[in-house]
Each structure stands twice: as structure tokens, then as C-alpha cells.
């Protein structure tokens, strides 16, 4: 079973929920950190990393002797990553999506593909957990290829927990795609509520079943709770605001390791997810 943990709004506690769920279960778990722009799960899981795989992307390079500056590549590039001016071929690598159209369609075969390191996938063990994380190289713009490379490592035999990037754009979509269930972590504030609704929109579009975890559940207002109740969205867990939890988080400590009662709550969370998932599977049949 693959469980993704997403949020819409950043800083609501995705990594807290994902890492504590993984640590509470511990056995037969694979953890994927797909927040490749700002990966933080390693801070709480402290894995021993023993495998690094580079992720490359391809980009065009001009072979000057062959290029007749016809400008076709510049015309077909949907991202305006190529300009041909005054018999000069110019390339803006930040804009390139590595679609390969320019070098495949060049009539003079004057573009060759070169590769560039865009990030890495690192693997290792954290307690009993199989750990995988992706890291986008600083200065690179496009994170989905790194997320895809992390997800290629999915081991379906395990309970797979995916820590997803915040927001509702491509990194979030790529992270939650094809998961069996998504935990949406939110907080009871107007920002948390607004972004929760956006995230729910994405999950509905992708037809991924989901439930909500409310972090800092005792602050703010009641809009998230009211909305979930009215729309039959299960609230799977509530985490109260606690300065001690905030302090432990700041030091990279997992709450299930600090306090046994939290371990039980996270195991309960998993049981609820299983139940929800089975219900939706049954509904499909």
C-alpha cells in the first residue's frame, strides 16, 4: 500500500506526520522523501545512506560546423529556451524541459544531446525502514524528474510512505500520483483551510482517496473541522499545539520516540487509513 502525505500549505506538519507514521510502524516500511526541493525527513529518520544515484537530464548543444542557423529549433521550442540571432545559437538552460524536440527535429542534425546532473537519489536504512530521498541540485528549476526517479524505487511489497512537496503544482501532483491513499495535513487557520481545499481539488481530479490530519488542532478557528464534517471527509488524527512538540521538532526529534502514547496514536492512524482505503476499494467493486 502506498500512502502519500501532502498538504497544500507548507509547514503544516507533513514531515512530522510522515516520519512518525513510518517510525511507529517501523517494520516492512519504505519511506520516500519526494520533497526534493527541501527534503527534511532525513533529519528525523537519521538514515545511514549507502547508495547514491545521479539523475541527469539532457539538453541540446550546437555543433557549429553543421548549424545553418535556420532557426527551426528556436521556433519549435515551447519554452523559448533557444534563440537564433545574427548567426548565433543561444541556449537558456533554466528554461529547457529536456523534451528532445530540438535535437530530434533539427534538419541538419546540428544539435547533439548532452547530459547534466539535475539531482540525486539517495538510499539507505533508518532503523527498520528502507529510506529513499531525492535532492534537486541547487540552482536547478525542474523537480518532477527527480521525484519520478525516487518513485522508480517503490517497493510494492512494503508499506510505502511518501513525503510530498507543499503546494498544488507539478511537484505535488507528481508526488501523490498513483498513491493508494493520501493524508492531507492541515492546520485550522484561514491559510490552512484555503490550501486544503485546493489540495482536495487535485486529489479529486486524480481520484485518490484521502483523509485529513489536523495539526495544532487547538488553535485558530473551526472552519476545517466544519468543512470535513459537512463533506464527510474523515479527520484521521488531531495533533494539539504543544511548545514541547515544537521544541522536539526543532531539534530533529520524532515525537513517537519521545512519548509512547504518540506511537499508539500513529498506529491507530494507520489502522484508520487501512479501513478508509478498504472502504473505497469495496465501493469501487
Amino acid at each position: 500500500m502506498t500512502i502519500s502525505v501532502a498538504s497544500g500549505k507548507g509547514g503544516t506538519g507533513k514531515t512530522t506526520v510522515a516520519t512518525n507514521l513510518a517510525l511507529a510502524l517501523n517494520d516492512n516500511v519504505q519511506f520516500l522523501d519526494c520533497d526534493v526541493e527541501a527534503p527534511n525527513a532525513f533529519i528525523f529518520l537519521r538514515p545511514t545512506l549507502n547508495d547514491v544515484k545521479p539523475v541527469y537530464s539532457f539538453f541540446p548543444q550546437v555543433v557549429e560546423e553543421k548549424c545553418n542557423f535556420c532557426g527551426l529549433c528556436s521556433k519549435i521550442c515551447e519554452w523559448n529556451a533557444i534563440a537564433v540571432v545574427n548567426k548565433k545559437w543561444l541556449f537558456f538552460s533554466q528554461l529547457c524541459h529536456s523534451c528532445s524536440a530540438c535535437w530530434q527535429l533539427c534538419p541538419e542534425k546540428a544539435l547533439k544531446k548532452e547530459k547534466k546532473l539535475k539531482g540525486v537519489v539517495e538510499k539507505g536504512k533508518a532503523f527498520g525502514i528502507d529510506f529513499v530521498q531525492g535532492k534537486l541540485t541547487v540552482g536547478e528549476a525542474v523537480s518532477p524528474p527527480i521525484i519520478k526517479a525516487v518513485k522508480k524505487e517503490i517497493n510494492k511489497e512494503k508499506i510505502v510512505i511518501i513525503d510530498v512537496a507543499p503546494g498544488t503544482g507539478c511537484p505535488m501532483v507528481e508526488g501523490v500520483k498513483e498513491s493508494d491513499f493520501c493524508i492531507l495535513v492541515t492546520e485550522p487557520t484561514p491559510f490552512g483551510f484555503n490550501d486544503l481545499i485546493l489540495a482536495i481539488g487535485v486529489l479529486k481530479e486524480l481520484t485518490i482517496p484521502f483523509g485529513v490530519v489536523i495539526n495544532r488542532s487547538d488553535i485558530g478557528d473551526d472552519k476545517v473541522e466544519d468543512f470535513c464534517r459537512k463533506n464527510n471527509i474523515p479527520v484521521l488524527l488531531r495533533l494539539p499545539f504543544d511548545r514541547k512538540i515544537a521544541r522536539a521538532y526543532s531539534e530533529g526529534k520524532a515525537i513517537v520516540k519521545e512519548d509512547k502514547s504518540w506511537k499508539e496514536k500513529f498506529i491507530e492512524l494507520f489502522e484508520k487509513i487501512k479501513e478508509e482505503y478498504q472502504n473505497t476499494e469495496r465501493a469501487k467493486v
Binding site: 509547514g11 526541493e37 527541501a38
Partner: protein, 284 residues
Amino acid sequence: MKTLTVISGKGGTGKTSIVASFAYLADNKVLADCDVDAADLHLLLHPEVKKSYNFKGGKTAVINKDKCTQCGKCEKVCQFEAIKNFEVDSLSCEGCSLCMHICPADAIKMEEKITGWVYISHTKYGPLVHAKLGIAEGNSGKLVTRVRTLAEEIAREKGAEIILIDGSPGIGCPVIASLTGADLALIVTEPTLSGISDLERVGGVCDHFGIRWVVCINKFDINRENTEKIEKECERRNIKVVGKIPFDINFIHALVKGLPLIEYSSNESKSQIENMWQEILNLL
């Protein structure tokens, strides 16, 4: 005209709350919410939309079944694994058009799609440019660029002195797009190991593009040792810490009331934000 972009690396450190307070403090400015895939600034600034535009940010390949000879060439060349069994998965399709160019049967067309909406609004703090990304749409970097350039146009028209940009978390396309042309980046961090790790990464992005940056440590009293670590590291690298804001539940109360903190409360956080704004003005 000067541009300040507020970013954070890690989400939820307080970017939007701080930008909203700056919106109250700054004179003669244009505001831009460049966190287009989880835009929240409008919840504090209550814009009245004056103009709205459809944003056509991408294309999707569409296969004409009648013309398709099922040769499979499109599937083979697609770098995004978006074509399977002669059907396009529009979520994976990035709209590069390669399949259309390569199809020998002329069976593929590219359809432009509306991937979001851009708004120019009036607020009591000044003009605000903001946007909404379509559900499960990509290309948010392009939409951010549209918001930013519109804000620049309005600022030029009005002779505004400052453009205030609320950025998104992370270090990828939307962040890079919101940093383009910025005179200064304010990175809002928090004294947690996650905050520190992400500060390091997003600071690296600013360095990579040669953008000057300064730091605000929010909730600094959650972990004073980590705050000290951030301050020392910034000092070592000659980066200015322009503000230290304590953990303050009033941020949440102000949020619930739909107000920038600075209009809601008059406490230490308020004076910290005022001082920080003065520092930033001196640096711009």
C-alpha cells in the same frame, strides 16, 4: 523602482504574514502574490478584483483516432512517458509538441489549455497582482512570471517605488521565477533543523543567480541555540539578519481575523517587523 522577494525554502515559516505587514508599512508599492499554487495573501489583503485574465500556460497533445495508424512513434519519442496505448495522459503531457511534429499520419494536434487565472486587484494597501493555478495544472513557473511582469508593468505605470513579492516555498521553478530581477531577497526561516537545512538550499539559489539576500528568523525563541547557530553562520558569510520575531500566537489570531499582524496587535512582534522594514528600506 526596487523589488523585494520574500521566500523561505521551508514552507510555513511566516512569509505571507510578514509580506502582509510590509504591505501595511510600505508607501507607494505594488504587491504580487507569486505563490500561485497555494496563494494566501488575498486572505489578509481582501482584494477587490478589477481585471481578470485567463492564463494559457501550456498545450496538451490530442490524438485523432481516425487518423492514427498506431505506428507507436509518438510513444517512443515522448520524454515524459505521457503516451500509452495511443492515448495521451494529459497530466503527464508537458506540451512540448514533439509528437505532433513527428507523427507521420498528421494525427496529433496541440490544444492550448487554460492553466490558470491572473487577477489585478485593488486593496486598501495598494494594487495587488495575484493568480490561481488550475487544478492539477503544471507550468506554475510561467504563471509566476506573468504575475511578476504584470506587477512590474503596473509599478512602472504608477511610478511605484517598491514591488513586494510573496514567493513560494521550495527552490524550484516558481521560486526562481519569483526571484528573477529582484533587488533583494528576504529569506524567512525558523530555528529548526528543517528550517536551517532549507535556508541553506534557498540561500544557495540566491547565490547561484547573484541575488543579494538577508534573513529573518521567525519564532526565534522556539529554540535559542539554533537561532544562535543561524546568526553565527550568517555573520560568517556576511549575510545580514534583519529581523528576529518571537513565537507569537497573535499571528494566528490576526490570521483568523483576516488582518496583517501589524494592524492587529501592538507588541514586540509588531515593533520587530517595523524595525525589519526600516532595515530593508535602507538596503534596497
